[in-house]
Each structure stands twice: as C-alpha cells, then as structure tokens.
C-alpha cells in the first residue's frame, strides 16, 4: 500500500525495466470517511426528532358536570407554581396541618419531597386497607409561571411515578395571596 519507492534509479546503463504498477488502491481513508458520514447521518436522523410528553386533562364540559368527587385529604399534595421559578406545596387542606412551604425544583428539592410523601401516603392507605390508592398531586400553575415550570413539574411526576396528578386552574384566596407575594 503506502510503500516508499526505494528504487534509487542508479543503473542508468541497464535494461529499461517497465515498472510493475501496483493495482491496489489504498481504501483506508475512504472507508474512514464513509463511516464518519454514516455515523453523522444515523445520529442526525434519529436524534433530531423531538420528544413528546403526553398529557391527559379531565373533561371540562359544563353539560356533563358531575358532582365534585371528594378525595381523602391525607392523600393529596397541592403544588403551586409561582413567578421566578418559585414553587410552594402543601399536604391536604391548606394551613391544616401545614402552611404552604417554598421548595426548589430539581432532584434535591421537589423530587425528594415527592418521594418521601409518596411513601407516607402509601403507608397511610395500606394501614387503611386500600393499598391500591396512591398519592394525588394537584398542580396549580399561577399566572406568572412559565411553560418550563409546568413541563418541569409534570416531568417530576413522571420521574417519581405519581399515579394521579392533574392541572387545576382554580385558586383558593389564600393561594392567590401567596402567589402574588402578599
């Protein structure tokens, strides 16, 4: 392949030898290039497709409005999304037993709390003899919260595998006050 021509060409007086031409071409570089391009095209075709997070919301047709279903407040956690990436949560009914508490996004913030509370709820429902009932998370995105916040919190639900969660747009007066920072 890539041999050096060591022929010095010294014997001028000798026979005129026709040089043996090497019929092989070095394909290494070409193969390198081809595989590089293959890799590029493979990655760009399959990885450029965006991901889709599916979201199901409860039906809100006023015609077939059923009576509000009462759920056990020991199973619910309400998450309020405020402006500037702020987030508050409380368990059960507001201010009883706990007042809304600020919590950051991410794995050391809401995720830890979610997993902890999920375990508590699981223990509670198991003690009641209904281990099939899991935790319910109510997400209330405030007027100043961004789309990113909503996607982030929905993502946390998927990561922590919360069985039931929904987005609710009605605010209690206390929640409204809290989100407006008064």
């Amino acid at each position: 392949m890539a041999e050096l021509n060591t022929d010095s060409g010294g014997d001028k007086g000798g026979k005129v030898r026709s040089k043996k031409q090497n019929s092989k071409v070095d394909l290494t570089a070409m193969v390198d290039l081809a595989f590089l391009l293959i890799t590029f095209f493979m990655l760009t075709t399959s990885l450029s497709k965006p991901q889709a997070m599916s979201l199901g919301l409860p039906d809100k047709d006023p015609k077939d409005k059923t009576a509000d279903i009462k759920v056990d407040e020991n199973r619910t956690m309400t998450v309020l999304l405020g402006d500037g990436d702020k987030m508050y949560f409380y368990m059960g009914i507001i201010n009883s037993p706990m007042a809304p508490k600020g919590i950051p996004y991410g794995k050391d913030g809401i995720r830890k709390e979610l997993l902890k509370r999920k375990k508590e709820v699981a223990a509670y429902t198991a003690a009641k003899g209904r281990p099939d009932q899991g935790m319910i998370v109510i997400i209330k995105p405030g007027k100043k919260s961004t789309y990113k916040n909503v996607v982030d919190i929905l993502d946390e639900m998927a990561i922590s595998s919360i069985p039931t969660y929904t987005i609710v747009n009605d605010f209690l007066p206390e929640e409204q006050k809290l989100l407006e920072g008064k």
């Binding site: 760009t44 996607v151 747009n169």
Partner: protein, 212 residues
C-alpha cells in the same frame, strides 16, 4: 542446514468489501434522511426526561412563542393530502378562495402564523422569506378564533383521509411552547383544545438526563 524462510505477511487488508458496505449504508441514510425545513418561528422547548418520540403522521403542532413581547401562535399539520383538504375546508368557511396552485404549495409548506386572509401572501413567498416575514400569529381570541377552526377542520380532513385508507387514527395534537412562555397563554390554547373535547395531547420537549 535449510534456512527457514519467514513468509512476509502483508499488513494491509483488503478494504474493498468494507468500503462497498460503508457506502451502501451511507447512500441509504442520505436518502432516508429528510431535509430539515426552517420553521417560521423557532422556539426553545423545555427539556424533560420522557423518551417518547413524536409521531410522523396524523399530527398537528401548535407552536407558541413570544416574539418582541407579543405572544404568537403558529399552526402546522403533517401530511400533504390532509393539509390540502384542511385548506379547502377553511377557504369554504371563511370565503377566501385559493387556486389549485396555492393548495399544492400550501401542502408542501410547514408552519404558518397568519390570519387566513393574508395566508395567500405567505404561500406565494419563498421558504426562506417566510421566516423573515414577521408573521403575526394565528388569531385565537374569542371574537376571531381561527386557531379553533384550523384544529377543527384539520381533524375533519384527517378523519376523511384516514377513513379512505381504512385507518381509525385520530389527529393528534402537540403543543410546542417556548420554555419562557407564560402559562396563561398555554392555558388558552389548552382551553381551545378542551372545548373540542381533546383532553389528551402531547407537549413537545427536548431531552435531558434525570440529574438536574
């Protein structure tokens, strides 16, 4: 004493076959790859850990973004025949006529964000000009809710088309919002969808790991 002759081994391998295969694959990937069409309004989608990909067909994408402090909504639909039929239905509804040539062109376009009355100007533009056209967004207020009509007619067109090929697939809706977009705008679009009893839809996101 006989000399043991070492056979000289050639270090080079024959690459011809490998080269053939490599180029065959390369050709395949180039041909199957679809060229990325520039979007009329690029948005920065938030990231999530979900791994589900968006479908390639039966999909309408509603892009919500903010340009110069104004919230804009763009509409996109997959499938040539479905696009064409949707435009026909829309032109009937709003009494705006489109020629056959316009419809062909519209079928090949991507997203748009103009009221139907000025859609023809956008169709007549070149793809590169559409991005710069500063489109005002599809109107979606209660007085003139064209977005609702687009979604509604796209669903009709999609069902007609799928019935003709014997499929029962409904049109799926994806919301592609900018990460910084405020929630009320997203909610407005979700409300439009829910008014049509579309209670389940997709949110388009980017990809990230679990440790954030």
């Amino acid at each position: 004493m006989a000399k043991i002759k070492m056979k000289k081994k050639s270090t080079s391998t024959d690459m011809t076959a490998m080269c053939d295969v490599a180029f065959l694959l390369l050709t395949f990937f180039i041909l199957t790859a679809t060229a990325k069409v520039p979007e009329a309004m690029p948005v920065d989608t938030p990231a999530s850990t979900v791994q589900v990909k968006l479908p390639d067909s039966d999909l309408a994408t509603i892009t919500i973004g903010n340009v110069d402090g104004k919230d804009k909504v763009f509409f996109d639909l997959k499938g040539k025949d479905i696009r064409k039929r949707t435009l026909e239905l829309m032109s009937e509804k709003y009494g705006v006529a489109f020629s056959d040539e316009d419809k062909e062109k519209f079928a090949l376009m991507t997203d748009f964000g103009v009221p139907i009355t000025s859609l023809k100007q956008i169709i007549d533009m070149k793809a590169s000009d559409r991005v710069k056209a500063n489109q005002p967004g599809v109107p979606m207020d209660s007085l003139d809710n064209q977005l609702k009509e687009w979604i509604y007619n796209a669903r009709i067109a999609n069902n007609e088309y799928n019935n003709s090929i014997g499929s029962k697939q409904e049109l799926q809706i994806a919301i592609k919002g900018d990460a910084k977009e405020e929630y009320p705008v997203i909610k407005k679009v979700m409300d439009i969808l829910q008014d049509q009893h579309i209670n389940s839809f997709s949110l388009v996101t980017g990809l990230r790991g679990k440790d954030f």
